[in-house]
């Protein structure tokens, strides 16, 4: 079933939230008001936006250091994210996790890892739990193209296939792993061809095209919910802000960068919605305005929040005595 107009607008809203939020993070870092290693996902917003509209609160995601877009799309409240990235006691993880380790179970964000590939086995376990308990939940396991070369990828896809786990492996292929091009690190051009090695469906889509991502995700999620097991969904995209904040991107060929920017998913989708009469410019502006307000509130909330107490160093290592 193709995405309805309502769904398309919701995808837009999520993309806009991700984009505007990213802009604001960067301006705050540049202003010296936030200090942290920041892995911007600007350019990749379409992928989680288009997938997450197919999910419920019961469904899980796992993601990576470059995961703020995944979290916002899945529903982590911006103010909790801001507070976490500002290292405040009011953050998702009381400031103890930081940008690479956001967890927010209420919205289904179960784990964010800084170790390439490591959230894929964990995603299998989330899917396993749903399967063991007979619950209707799927897991979206987000990872990068570079991660498809690490052992955990392979073990996870095989395990998920053998056990028919309800996991959708989403490779956000932004063509770079840190400074290494796809070709220099990965023996195949399309990660999706690896699916055949596990006897599962593998498909590559334009990760900047919400409809393409939506359609492919819909089929993969359908399979997973039907008990038919995992799929590998590769979404080709680009990251506009390099690997980590401060990355000057000398290693990115200029024409490749220019072409990617010309294909920026946010204006592209916005323009398409207007051109196709799905929404008017004014309607989208209104969405953007609400988002600006939400982000403003998040920034204020975070900056006004206290830092965690030093006693936190002794807490959350083990369960409190008596509870275990």
């Amino acid at each position: 079933m193709p995405a309805s107009q309502r769904v398309l607008v919701e995808i837009y809203r999520k993309m806009a939230l991700i984009k505007h939020n990213d802009d604001r993070f960067i301006s705050m870092i540049k202003a010296g008001r936030l200090t942290m290693p920041y892995y911007s996902a600007r350019g990749q917003e379409c992928i989680p936006a288009a997938i997450s509209v197919l999910l419920t609160d019961r469904d899980y995601i796992t993601t990576i250091y470059r995961g703020v877009h995944d979290m916002l799309a899945k529903g982590v409240p911006p103010k909790l994210l801001w507070a976490e990235l500002a290292g405040r006691a009011t953050g998702t993880c009381k400031g103890k996790g930081g940008p690479m380790h956001i967890t927010h179970p209420e919205s289904g964000c179960m784990v964010t890892t800084g170790i390439v590939g490591a959230s894929m086995p964990i995603a299998c376990g989330l899917g396993l739990a749903a399967q063991v308990r007979g619950e209707d939940r799927v897991v979206i396991a987000n990872f990068g193209d570079g991660a498809s070369n690490i052992g955990a990828f392979h073990e996870s896809l095989n395990l998920a296939a053998v056990w028919k786990l309800p996991v959708i492996f989403v490779c956000q292929n932004n063509l770079f792993a840190e400074h290494t091009t796809l070709a220099n690190g990965t023996a195949v051009q399309d990660i999706s061809v690896r699916a055949a090695g596990y006897g599962i469906p593998g498909v590559t889509v334009d990760g900047n095209d919400p409809r393409a991502v939506y359609d492919a995700a819909q089929e993969a999620i359908r399979r997973a919910r039907a008990g038919d097991g995992p799929s590998l969904l590769e979404a080709k995209t680009f990251r506009f802000n390099g690997h980590v904040f401060g990355d000057a991107g000398e290693y990115i060929p200029k024409d490749q960068y220019a072409a990617a920017v010309a294909n920026d998913p946010y204006p592209r989708f916005r323009d398409a919605l207007i051109a196709e009469d799905v929404a008017t410019s004014a309607e989208l502006d209104e969405i953007d305005a609400l988002i600006e307000t939400e982000i403003n509130e998040a920034v204020t909330f975070a900056m006004d929040s206290p830092f965690p107490e030093l006693s936190e160093l002794g807490i959350d290592i083990y369960a409190p005595v008596g509870q275990a």
């Binding site: 899980y60 796992t62 953050g91 998702t92 993880c93 009381k94 400031g95 103890k96 996790g97 380790h101 967890t103 927010h104 179970p105 179960m110 784990v111 890892t113 170790i115 490591a118 894929m120 086995p121 964990i122 995603a123 299998c124 376990g125 989330l126 899917g127 396993l128 739990a129 399967q131 063991v132 308990r133 052992g151 955990a152 073990e155 996870s156 095989n158 395990l159 053998v162 056990w163 807490i315 959350d316 290592i317 083990y318 369960a319 509870q323 275990a324």
Partner: protein
């Protein structure tokens, strides 16, 4: 098979004790699931048969044999535990923890802290080890020190069947990840059966034998050896207090300190290689905390600082001997 275990006989071995503990935990809590290589009955119920009968009794949904993918299935256990299952997974031999170290140390151990307490990892990783069967350099190492140095994970190593039962029950009930070290060469040594539902709290050492002159501290295999040494030394009129740590991390310092404060002397014994082993931490803490009470420096007895050799005489020479323990005790006693 597990049927015959429902009513435990007066004596059982550690294989049976752990089997029984897992079975009882699975019976009591449907969140307990089991997986690992060859653990289901179609595959023989585990290569040492520790999990025999479980898949037949509790079904293939809860007890599964896995591909050879320790990173994959230990990670899956982490994931399942994040949402409330209580996986008991088998990493067949302790050396294989090296292929899934990242899931154990960077994830299982840290997720409670990094999530600010929102999630936690009630996971038991069973693993066996121990030299003596000629399996050589990659199948016999005691690596508990790696995990003891990793805050967030608990390290347990029973020395007898009843404790194995009680510690396994406690480990499965624990809200945090536990590395549960089983000693292959003493798997089949019989001992008194545990009472049904017997729990041995994690983090509590046992005074196995009271004594006056010196405190002998061990865990896993070494408890057998320090007990043997204690019997021999008794004949020379040396009275040993014997402590079985049971949990290596976190250490039960109150019990250890009380004993050594009393005897004034301590010998720590483990099968792991000596240098940078768990014994060093115990020694360091004793000196730090009992400086005025210690009558002699704490002695360590451990395996030689080399990989585990294959050839029988070398393998035997690699391991410490009961003699080594006795010599260490006499050395501490020779001191002022």
């Amino acid at each position: 098979m597990s049927q015959t275990l429902v009513k435990p006989p007066a004596k059982i071995n550690t294989v049976q004790a752990i089997n029984l503990a897992i079975a009882d935990a699975m019976e009591a809590d449907e969140n307990v699931i089991v997986f690992g290589e060859d653990v289901a009955d179609l595959e023989g119920g585990g290569i040492v048969k520790v999990t025999q009968g479980l898949s037949t009794r509790f079904g293939g949904n809860r007890v599964r044999s896995t591909p050879i993918s320790e990173m994959g299935f230990v990670g899956a256990a982490v994931g399942a535990s994040l949402v409330g299952l209580r996986p008991v997974v088998e990493v067949m031999l302790m050396n294989f923890t090296a292929v899934c170290m990242d899931q154990i140390t960077n994830h299982a151990a840290k997720l409670r802290f990094m999530s600010g307490g929102q999630t936690h990892v009630p996971l038991v990783i069973r693993t066996m080890t121990g030299a003596g069967f000629g399996t050589g350099g990659q199948h016999s190492d005691f690596l508990e020190a790696w995990f003891c140095h990793t805050p967030g994970i608990k390290v347990v190593a029973p020395s007898n069947p009843a404790d194995a039962y009680g510690l396994m029950r406690a480990a499965i009930a624990d809200e945090d990840p536990v590395i549960f070290i089983e000693h292959l060469p003493t798997y089949w040594v019989a001992g008194p059966a545990p009472a049904p539902g017997h729990f041995v709290p994690l983090g509590k050492a046992a005074i196995v034998q009271e004594g006056r002159d010196v405190t002998l501290i061990g865990y896993s295999r070494s408890v057998h050896d320090i007990r043997a040494a204690a019997v021999n030394l008794e004949k020379s009129g040396i009275s040993c207090e014997v402590i079985d740590l049971r949990t290596i991390s976190p250490l039960d310092m109150p019990t250890i300190l009380a004993s050594v404060a009393k005897t004034g002397r301590a010998v720590v014994v483990h099968e792991a290689v000596r240098s940078f082993g768990a014994g060093a931490e115990i020694s360091a803490r004793l000196h730090e905390q009992l400086w005025t009470k210690l009558k002699a420096p704490v002695q360590r007895v451990a395996s030689k600082d080399c990989p585990v050799p294959f050839s029988k005489p070398l393998e035997t020479g690699f391991l410490y001997s009961v003699d080594d323990i006795e010599i260490a005790v006499r050395t501490t006693l020779a001191n002022a």
